[in-house]
């Protein structure tokens, strides 16, 4: 749904708010007029907290199945304002923008979905359609990392995914007390636990950029080809359609050319501290 001026957002109403962790919520949004816009997994919207500002937020749900789902962590003024919204409140949104996860390209291959922290939200938008068309893929493995057990979003849903026989779920945290019965260790070190054939695997990775850089290197080391590793980047996106240049990374604009990139295209750029 696009207004005539691309910077003018459309109005959306908060249908419900689901708490994921102490500082993270999922908003279910419906347009005040018409039906929710169609989008592709991995794309993002610009969400506007009136009078405060806009931030890019990936979709975390499925297209065409009810309200738009956006999972937001309260870390800055805009995200804090969005996290304080309640059912019935209205906000602005424009989109969808950006490149999606290449699910069609991944058909027939083993699918490795790797998420760090809130990166599980956009990864979820790829996992749900993959599970809905499970026969299109080989093995599917979901590897989730978080700072601590308390920082893991979608906890109950992860529990349900674990019980699916055709989905391998591995969860690991960076820090834990002995009361935590799960895995402790950084995401790249857990890749050997995932069951996949490297020569026919496609990996989708989303999380903090440092985590993604090391994860991509670990995937390369495991034998996954660079052109089959896809990262979803988050840079300082403002306009969302490659006009303002705030998210420019070398010759690419993350908002327009990304946020999902093949690692083979951006590996060199990621290693440059100047950009």
């Amino acid at each position: 749904m696009r207004a005539a001026d691309p910077f003018v957002p459309s109005l959306f109403r908060v249908e419900r708010v689901s708490r994921e962790t102490a500082d993270t919520i999922t908003l279910a949004l419906s347009p005040t007029q018409g039906t929710p816009p169609a989008f592709l997994p991995g794309q993002f919207f610009m969400l506007y907290a009136f009078g405060i500002g806009e931030i890019p937020v990936s979709v975390s749900g499925l297209s065409g199945e009810g309200p738009l789902l956006h999972t937001i962590r309260a870390v800055g003024p805009v995200s804090q304002a969005l996290c304080q919204l309640e059912a019935g409140d209205v906000l602005g949104a424009r989109g969808p923008y950006g490149s999606p996860w290449p699910l069609a390209q991944a058909a027939g291959s083993d699918l490795l979905l790797i998420a760090g922290g809130l990166g599980l939200a956009p990864i979820r938008s790829a996992l749900l359609p993959a599970l809905a068309e499970r026969e299109r893929y080989g093995r599917i493995a979901l590897l989730c990392g978080a700072r601590s057990p308390e920082g893991l979003p979608f906890g109950p849903e992860i529990g349900r995914w674990r019980s699916q026989p055709d989905l391998q779920v591995e969860v690991t945290v960076d820090h834990a007390s002995p009361a935590w019965r799960g895995s402790v260790g950084v995401v790249p070190s857990r890749i050997p636990y995932a069951r996949f054939a490297p020569e026919r695997a496609t990996a989708f990775v989303c999380g903090p950029e440092v985590m993604m850089r090391f994860t991509a290197l670990a995937l390369l080391g495991a034998g996954v080809a660079a052109e089959r590793i896809f990262l979803s980047l988050e840079r300082n996106m403002k306009c969302a359609f490659a006009v303002c240049g705030r998210c420019q990374m070398g010759p690419t604009f993350v908002c327009r050319d990304g946020p999902v990139f093949p690692y083979s295209r951006i590996a060199r750029l990621l290693s440059l501290r100047e950009i």
């Binding site: 700072r147 960076d174 820090h175 009361a179 402790v184 050997p192 999380g207 903090p208």
Partner: protein, 154 residues
């Protein structure tokens, strides 16, 4: 309890290793098992060897007086527990606790160091396998220290 020689030959850590070296390693190895909750090693104790995990999970922990220990990492089947035996003064640098019942192979360090001194090929083979382990774990600790899931300015 696993047979040391066949377990060594099948363990991922020694994948592709010369069978003659497996024979040598087996002379320093024996099968072990630990119930959940038992410590395989304690910080500061002599690092008399290392373990190859066949099943179960261990936690590498640092204890703190009056507070809950910190779990640094968990390791499970297919992984190696213990690198302190390689570097003098050969002391464990953390506690190793069985989170689940453990089956595995213990390799005696004094035996292995002795054989490595007289057989440089064995020593070099071990170095080639342990050095990447050191690097991987150093990188993992760096990532943990970065606390990458902390607040961002977004």
């Amino acid at each position: 309890m696993p047979d040391p020689k066949s377990a060594l030959a099948k363990h991922p850590f020694f994948a592709g290793i010369d069978p003659a070296i497996v024979e040598t390693l087996a002379e320093c190895a024996h099968g072990v098992s630990f119930p959940a909750g038992q410590f395989l090693a304690r910080e500061g104790e002599p690092a008399s060897g290392f373990f190859l995990l066949e099943s179960g999970t261990v936690a590498l922990e640092l204890h703190r007086p009056g507070r809950m220990p910190i779990v640094l990492e968990t390791l499970r089947e297919g992984e190696v527990v213990g690198t302190s035996w390689v570097i003098a003064p050969y002391r464990w640098s953390c506690d190793v606790r069985a989170v689940e019942p453990i089956e595995g192979i213990a390799i005696d360090a004094r035996c292995l160091r002795g054989k490595s001194e007289s057989d440089p090929q064995l020593g070099y083979e071990l170095l080639k396998r342990f050095l990447p382990l050191f690097v991987q774990r150093l990188e993992a600790v760096r990532l943990q220290l970065l606390d990458v899931y902390g607040e961002s300015p977004a």
